[in-house]
Symmetry: C2
Subunit: 266 residues, 2 copies
DNA sequence: TCTGCGGTCTCCCGCCGGGAGAGGGTCAAG
DNA sequence: CTTGACCCTCTCCCGGCGGGAGACCGCAGA
């Protein structure tokens, strides 16, 4: 009587490859039921088939092996469900991103529009209620929603559209300083909210219409305009949410003013 | 006057990283407008921004760089649209797979069923009309649909449910021999269809209910049963599509008999 | 008991797209 | 001319898997 199923037999039963099973052993995800100490042969039991299949499913969902390990190591089914739910959330966001990319690609590939209306204007210094932090590029949307909620709870909605400043490093390095603000007569200090004085700048600005799926296209066109008018970029991007998701659920109605602080070159 | 935008400036305008732009140059996807021959500095023009953004979008859709190159190299917008449509198709399939994995995972994690009803029966040798080929694991579904269409066109639907044999290597190595058949009184030779004599086997069989999302779970349970009854696997998997997508569009109604040829061990 | 063959062992490399850092040259403002 | 930001190339690393080499093991037939 042998100790159990050989790795090849087990592979056949689970539709995993022999190599993959060895890797799962190596990384501690799926220990063979017994390992012959003299030959090193791995032997599996039929009871391990369900575990192998759970791992298989999680991998199909692109859950990293390390995360799979964490999920399997948890006995508490509640925590486990939570971890999995987290991954499904991330899956959903990546799906949304894919959809956005498809839409934007289709727009990019059809002929396209005329001149981009850009205006350069002097933005005066302003005292506003702001929340600021260094944020990962992937978490910006989430962070923004949180921060804007907190900002709204302090009041001042409706006076002027809210806005945000996004450090250029955010896109270059994947993380950078972000600041969102609301215009309030007497900016309070509350929670993460602080009164902040935004400096005066020359702003080359245009308006992006619609969802933010392809706002970077408008950025590109604005940037081209700036360069072609012998200006140079000097500071974080300014966005003003003239009409946003909080004003109207229909993305087609959204209006976002985007602006780059500029100065004239030689 | 400089030759154009430095790589850093261009990166800022396109929201791509400097390193990524260098790689795109290296792989010929996006040549800088000019390269200073003495210093090696890359200089870009504002006109290259749209190209960079198209590349960016395609990469967001996980199109490999080589494919992106092909797409950009094509001037014919029709061909281009075709290539992109192909990728969107693949995206759709991968999305379907993801959905299936999510469903199956949820089923895997909740408590679970009783005994699996397995029967061992003697399958007599049969002469059938079959199409067979060596197929990549990823293309099996597509191949199956094609082959079954061709088989149907030869006739014989309705006499007995169709079936398929899947070499075990298919799952181990990612490619293997697949055979689909229909029972016809006098199997013809037509197109890819050939008369094939299926050998007699002892078959350990059970029925999988519902969509094939988690048919491998049933395979695992069948395999466990086989092992625990001191049997061993000897040949390709047999599937019989008792009720399939061509009989009833509702996956819940599908019935697939799966069987492993077995022989008794010591 | 020997032999042969297929299964299994370990170890190293390649693939992809990108990140990170080293070590050195270049540009432009003060 | 110095300084500091920018740019150059080169090399290594990551995750998850496949491929292959070279050696050992298990088992059946002679």
């Amino acid at each position: 009587m042998r100790g159990g199923l050989t790795i090849g037999e087990f592979a056949q039963l689970t539709h995993l490859s022999v190599r993959t099973l060895r890797r799962y052993h190596e990384s501690g995800l799926l220990e063979p039921a017994t390992v012959d100490p003299s030959t090193g042969y791995r032997y599996y039991s039929t009871g391990q088939i369900p575990s192998a299949q759970v791992i298989h499913r999680l991998r199909e969902l692109d859950v990293p092996l390390a995360e799979v390990g964490k999920i399997l190591a948890t006995d508490d089914p509640g925590v486990r469900a939570e971890l999995i739910a987290g991954h499904l959330d991330r899956l959903q966001t990546s799906l949304d991103r894919t959809r956005a990319a498809v839409n934007s690609l289709q727009r990019l590939l059809r002929p396209e529009p005329g001149e981009l209306p850009v205006a350069v204007r002097s933005e005066p210094a302003r005292l506003v209620a702001a929340i600021t932090d260094v944020v990962e590029l992937g978490n910006v949307l989430e962070w923004y929603d949180d921060a804007m909620d907190e900002l709204d709870s302090v009041g001042g909605a409706g006076l002027a559209p809210p806005g945000g400043h996004y450090d250029n490093e955010l896109f270059a390095a994947g993380h950078g300083r972000v600041l969102v603000y609301r215009v309030i007569a007497e900016p309070p200090t509350y929670g993460r909210v602080r009164p902040v004085k935004l400096p005066a700048v020359e702003l080359a600005a245009t308006v992006h219409h619609g969802a933010h799926d392809d706002i970077d296209v408008t950025y590109g066109r604005l940037g081209a305009w700036v360069v072609e008018h012998a200006l140079a970029v000097a500071g974080p991007v300014h966005e003003t949410y003239v009409v946003g998701p909080r004003d109207n659920p229909d993305p087609a109605s959204w209006r976002t003013e985007i602006g780059w602080p500029v100065f004239r070159v030689a």
